[in-house]
């Protein structure tokens, strides 16, 4: 009887191992053999379903493991109240100066455009240019973006639930930020107790980069939440390994990979955690979630392989030879130090977190050698901190070896967001040890952090120089305001940047296209297809006056008569002009 049971279990495991191996092999073959065009089609039409299936199965696993989660973390009511108050306090700090809006042009627009495509057509594609077919705005030309699409997927789900709204991307990020702080509190508690949870939340709140991303339309906030979810599931799994927790953990890692390009490195960390769980249980569990992980990753792997092969998608700067290299990393180290230890308000760093965090990180790595057995036997959160810390160092290394990985550039700083996870929790782990001998350490650090938040973080968030200096976003907001108030509906816009227009259902074409279709545009205006035509011109100052950035605009000005509608300089020496086309100049 016993023997037959063992055989049945072995047969079950064998089947799962076989399916898993077949899945991995199929994935590899697909990546190697499928042509880029077909791969692009798979991503475009199948991408939505990859994330949908993964998310649904992940939720099922979470529900299945909720019982063991609750059993493994028996929380008194007072701690729930304390935790809730900590998260509310942290959220108040993060959102005290909330200015919801796009922070990164064009990344945020592309993500939101993809979300619209996922919502309307269930396709991983965004409209580049569109036109009206009856009353409906239909896409004429679409783009499959290089960015992973779990964030657009979440935004699309919200669109599905409450209807399409331009505010939905920001709602997703705001909710994500609050959930993230909740996760941070729980992880801090697991690592070193209740006060550690509070201090973890406060340390994160001291980081303006978090507030910037919590109020923006980018994918960084969700990436951070998924990282925290994976870390928490890893702790719970290591405390009491089970099939349901393993499945949830594997699928969380898949979703994390669908959130940001380089988050794929955590798949290895999760694999290590799963192996440690097996070791702890002295048994191979292998949930179906783990078995399915490789096939479910196919979408993002295909997308990455397509864009990795295309040089243009790396947006290489002049003078750089490879997108990733050791030279890049060496050159980017001073920039990284410049970001982490910046004392002015141009960058969204937290000097307090950097100073304490780096000291904490070194101390933690030293301490970990001594505490490793304690972590293994009593505190898996310490073990996860150590393991994820190593992968976050690797992650930072990857970011810094990227040719555009200068963290002290306001629009690159966000890549450093995940690394703050290890700065916070290594400090918490060290203070956990200190508190055994000196109990007041938590109060002192909490008061210090609150003072820092009030005197540095909140003023920085209020000024938000690191966001406002993105003049392109301000320019697009200005154009949006003018178009809402002054343009006749269904007008044609000629602009070098058509995607934000298409996002708001305006027919927009690039100047080159307009120049090639002069007669058609003229006819369309005469036939009242377009009630008005507008041209956006970007100029720079050359010492004598402003000249157009693009010669195509000058050519268009020779062909069309136009009147200046508005002009505004969004940063020194630059000018954006908006013209209304008033007629056609027949060639002499």
């Amino acid at each position: 009887m016993v023997l037959s049971k063992v055989n049945i279990i072995s047969a079950r495991i064998l089947l799962r191992i076989t399916v898993a191996v077949v899945g991995v092999v199929c994935c590899l073959l697909t990546v190697l053999l499928v042509e880029p065009e077909l791969a692009l089609r798979v991503v475009r039409y199948g991408g939505y379903f990859f994330t949908l299936v993964t998310s649904v199965v992940f939720v099922v696993y979470l529900v299945l493991s909720s019982r063991s989660l609750l059993l493994c973390w028996d929380v008194p009511r007072s701690q729930i109240v304390f935790g809730s108050l900590s998260v509310i306090l942290g959220s108040c700090f993060v959102f005290a100066h909330a200015d919801f809006g796009y922070k990164m042009a064009m990344d945020d627009y592309l993500l939101v455009g993809t979300a619209k495509g996922l919502h309307l057509d269930k396709e991983v594609a965004l409209t580049q240019t569109g036109s009206f077919f009856g009353k409906t705005f239909v896409a004429d030309e679409v783009l499959v973006d290089k960015r992973p699409w779990f964030y657009p997927f979440m935004v699309a789900c919200l669109h599905d639930l409450i209807g399409y709204r331009s505010a939905n991307p920001f709602i997703v990020n705001a909710v994500t930020a609050v959930l993230f702080l909740g996760g941070v509190y729980v992880f801090g508690c697991l690592l070193a107790g209740q006060m550690a949870g509070l201090l973890s939340v406060l340390l994160w709140s001291s980081l303006p980069l978090l507030a910037q991303n919590a109020t923006g339309g980018g994918m960084e906030m969700l990436n951070l939440l998924m990282l925290q979810v994976v870390a928490l599931l890893a702790v719970f799994y290591l405390r009491k390994p089970s099939l349901s927790l393993e499945g949830a953990l594997s699928l969380a890692a898949v979703l994390l990979t669908y959130t940001r390009y380089e988050s794929g490195v955590f798949v290895i960390a999760v694999a290590v955690v799963i192996l440690l769980g097996w070791l702890r249980e002295r048994q191979v569990l292998l949930a179906w979630g783990t078995v399915l992980a490789a096939p479910l990753l196919l979408g993002v792997v295909l997308q990455t392989s397509i864009y990795a092969a295309s040089e243009s998608s790396w947006e290489m700067m002049p003078g750089t030879s490879a997108p990733f290299s050791v030279e890049n990393m060496l050159m980017n180290i001073p920039h990284a130090l410049g970001f982490f230890f910046s004392g002015d308000d141009m960058l969204a760093n937290s000097l307090l977190l950097s100073i304490l965090g780096f000291i904490g990180l070194i101390a933690f790595l030293v301490l970990a050698r001594r505490e490793l057995s304690t972590y293994w036997s009593k505190n898996p959160a310490g073990l996860v901190t150590l393991l994820f810390g190593c992968f976050l160092l690797l992650h930072l290394g990857v970011v810094m070896s990227f040719h555009a990985g200068q963290l002290d550039r306001p629009f690159v700083s966000r890549y450093a967001l995940p690394f703050h996870w290890i700065l916070v929790f290594s400090l918490i782990a060290v203070l956990g040890n200190v508190s055994a001998r000196w109990r007041q350490v938590w109060q002192i650090f909490c008061v210090l952090t609150v003072l820092f938040i009030v005197t540095f973080t909140l003023p920085m968030n209020s000024k938000a120089i690191f966001s406002k200096t993105n003049f392109r976003v301000r320019e697009l907001n200005w154009l949006e305001a003018i178009s809402e108030n002054q343009f006749k509906p269904r007008s044609l816009i000629i602009d070098r940047v058509p995607i934000p227009w298409a996002l708001r259902d305006w027919v927009a074409i690039e100047p080159q296209v307009a120049l090639l279709n002069v007669h058609r545009i003229t006819q369309d205006v005469v036939s009242k297809k377009y009630p008005e035509v507008f041209l956006v011109e970007r100029m720079h100052y050359d010492g004598d006056g402003f000249v157009a950035d693009s010669p195509v605009i000058v050519n268009l000005q020779e062909v069309f008569k136009m009147e200046l509608l508005e002009e505004r300089s969004f940063r020194p020496f630059e000018l954006t002009r908006l013209y209304r086309l008033t007629g056609y100049r027949a060639p002499n």
Binding site: H97, T455, R538, H540, D542, D549
Partner: protein, 621 residues
């Protein structure tokens, strides 16, 4: 024989010597300005944090017991909330004293944004970010701007945050008033004290303004209560509360520094009673935490402009002013017209109370309901309030019936109310006396105070206050539109985070304006001018002649196109004009080297060396 810790006493001695040296001897005014500008905020933050931590330690309250004794606080709480709402609805919100309050607001703005004690004089919104580029350290104590800046930090920047702060301080002030009143007369004192002070429209004016006078009252009553609490049961924690409250009170208004002597006396008495010189670390630090006061005074004393003295006046204080100012004070206290925010009821009852107290004293029936500690605090703080009021009367601008100066008498008015309550308590009338007086107060409020406040805001018609309100409204409307304002009320657009410079600077640097017109740095350059009408008596009004001179100079320097004008009163218009051209005359146009600027293939500008950017910043008008 006194007990003492010799090390702490030695440290205290060193702390006093170091503070005296730093405060009075070590630094020239220029250095003092730099210290205050960059260090003032941190000094204030340190003191405030110590106070918050101290109060937190003292607030280990048994909340369950508090909840069960609801009858103790429920009615007073309801009463204070209702009276606070009444006070806040009595007068319109906004700046009342238009030099002081916008200046305090810009200091708060700078403390919030840069942690610097600085009053802005020119600022620009460039590249989407507002920068204050120039300023000076003002004479005004900066505890109020500090609290306003904290409110900015916690709830986001608002130009009218000072008004919000005063709104929040109102229930705190009335609560303190209630507690002090209750201490003076146990049954009705709190209710009567709050009722009486509410009949004074000056309180409502300040509660709805952006000035620091309400905070001064809060700190005054809070310090008095801390002194009372300390004397009743002296310990280190209570002494620290008293000292920290006193330090912050000293930085709430110019003359409030005198309360330091009162606090010193109270602490001395406590030591005497205990026969012990008890020195906490806060007490040792206290002289160092106060150094900003002598530094600020040093700066003010070297700059005559801060005193705003009239021509031929040698000193701002003189005994010769007292007689005249007493007449003005009596004209305020006993006014019965729309011009003065006074309470005739408080003034009359105060006189009666003085008579009653004198008679009781004469008849030796005077025995305050306060025990020894309370009486001592009452007498000591009364003395300082009276000294301050005497100083005010000896001040050249101490005319209490001048609305710019009336608020300086607020502590004295609070004292009047407390004297009335003390006299009422001493009379020990039957149980109907309290409700009767309360009815009188309510009737006076309904029949006199409320109609008075409904009819008047007590500000002169067509004054600078309306001009400031108008500029505030315009700059709020144009915020974020990259507009540059040129006006003599340059602070108001700055508070709204709009680019703004003084008219004189614009005229002096008209070539820079012309250059930035070419660069399109500002979407519009707007001039705000005060224009006297033909009916205005220009020759007899210095402000009008100055305005006319500025307008002529502006018209000579710029081509202006009138956009909007509004009548402030029969004598004055305010105009908003657009600069359409600059009359450079012989001044050569500005050019800068832009050879290091290029356009990247992505369409973005590439500033290689930053030379052009630096030149851009230097060329701002």
């Amino acid at each position: 024989m006194f007990r003492y810790n010799p090390y702490r006493l030695g440290l205290m001695f060193v702390s006093v010597l170091v503070s005296l040296y730093i405060g009075f001897l070590a630094f020239e005014p220029v250095e003092a300005i730099r210290i205050l500008r960059y260090g003032g905020y941190w000094l204030m933050l340190g003191t405030f944090t110590l106070l918050v931590l101290n109060l937190f330690k003292r607030s280990q309250v048994d909340w369950k017991a508090v909840c069960t004794k609801r009858e103790l606080w429920l009615w007073p709480l309801a009463y204070i909330l209702i009276t606070s709402a009444i006070v806040l609805l009595l007068q319109p919100s906004g700046y009342k004293i238009v030099m002081d309050e916008p200046v305090l607001a810009t200091v708060a703005q700078q403390m919030h944004a840069e942690r610097a004690v600085l009053t802005g004089v020119r600022g620009y919104e460039v590249n989407g970010v507002f920068h204050l580029l120039d300023g000076y350290v003002d004479k005004r104590p900066y505890f109020y701007p500090f609290l306003t800046s904290l409110l900015h930090d916690l709830t986001g920047y608002r130009p009218m945050q000072g008004v919000v702060l005063n709104g929040l301080l109102t229930p705190i002030f009335l609560s303190l008033m209630f507690v002090v009143g209750q201490l003076l007369e146990r049954r009705w004192g709190g209710y009567l004290a709050v009722g009486l002070i509410v009949t004074v429209p000056l309180l409502a004016m300040n509660a709805n303004s952006g000035g620091f006078d309400l905070l001064n009252l809060v700190m005054l009553l809070g310090t008095a209560l801390a002194a009372y609490s300390y004397l009743r049961s002296p310990n280190t924690l209570r002494m620290n509360t008293l000292i920290l409250m006193g330090i912050l009170l000293a930085q709430s208004r110019y003359e409030s520094v005198l309360y330091i002597f009162a606090i010193g006396l109270v602490v001395g008495v406590a030591w005497w009673r205990k026969r012990e010189v008890e020195l906490s670390w806060v007490a040792i630090l206290a002289p160092l935490l106060l150094i900003s006061f002598p530094l600020l005074r040093g700066i003010v004393n070297t700059n005559d402009a801060f005193w705003q003295l009239e021509e031929g006046m040698a000193s701002p204080f003189s005994l010769n002013f007292i007689a005249g100012n007493l007449e003005h004070a009596s004209s305020y206290f006993f006014a019965n017209n729309l011009d003065q925010p006074n309470s005739l009821l408080v003034s009359v009852l105060f006189l009666l109370s003085l008579v009653v107290l004198s008679v009781l004293l004469f008849m030796r029936r005077f025995s305050s309901c306060l025990e020894g500690s309370g009486s001592l605090v009452y007498i000591v703080f009364t003395m300082v309030v009276l000294i301050n009021f005497a100083l005010f009367l000896a001040y050249y601008w101490g005319q209490m019936d001048d609305i710019q100066a009336t608020r300086i008498g607020l502590p004295f008015i609070v004292l009047q109310v407390l004297v009335i309550i003390a006299a009422f308590g001493e009379l020990r009338l039957d149980r109907f006396a309290g409700p009767t007086l309360a009815t009188v107060i309510a009737l006076f409020f309904v029949t006199v105070t409320r109609p008075l406040c409904a009819k008047s805001d007590f500000l002169p018609f067509g004054s600078a206050q309306q001009a400031v309100q108008w500029i505030h409204q315009k700059s709020a409307e144009l915020k974020g539109q990259s507009v540059l304002f040129i006006s003599d009320r340059y602070v108001v657009p700055l508070i709204n985070q709009c680019s703004s410079i003084m008219s004189s600077d614009a005229i002096e640097h008209k070539d820079r304006i012309e250059f930035h017109q070419r660069l399109k740095t500002f979407s519009d350059v707007l001039v705000i001018a005060i224009v006297p009408t033909e009916r205005a008596n220009i020759s007899q009004n210095e402000l009008f002649t100055e305005a006319l001179d500025v307008n002529i100079a502006l018209n000579e320097a710029f081509e202006l196109e009138l956009i909007e004008e509004e009548k402030l009163n029969d004598a004055v218009y305010i105009q908003l004009s657009r600069v359409t051209g600059v009359r450079l005359g012989d001044t050569p146009p500005i050019t800068i080297d832009t050879s290091d600027i290029s356009v990247l293939p992505s369409g973005q500008m590439d500033f290689k060396s930053g030379v052009a950017v630096q030149a851009f910043v230097r060329s701002l008008p």
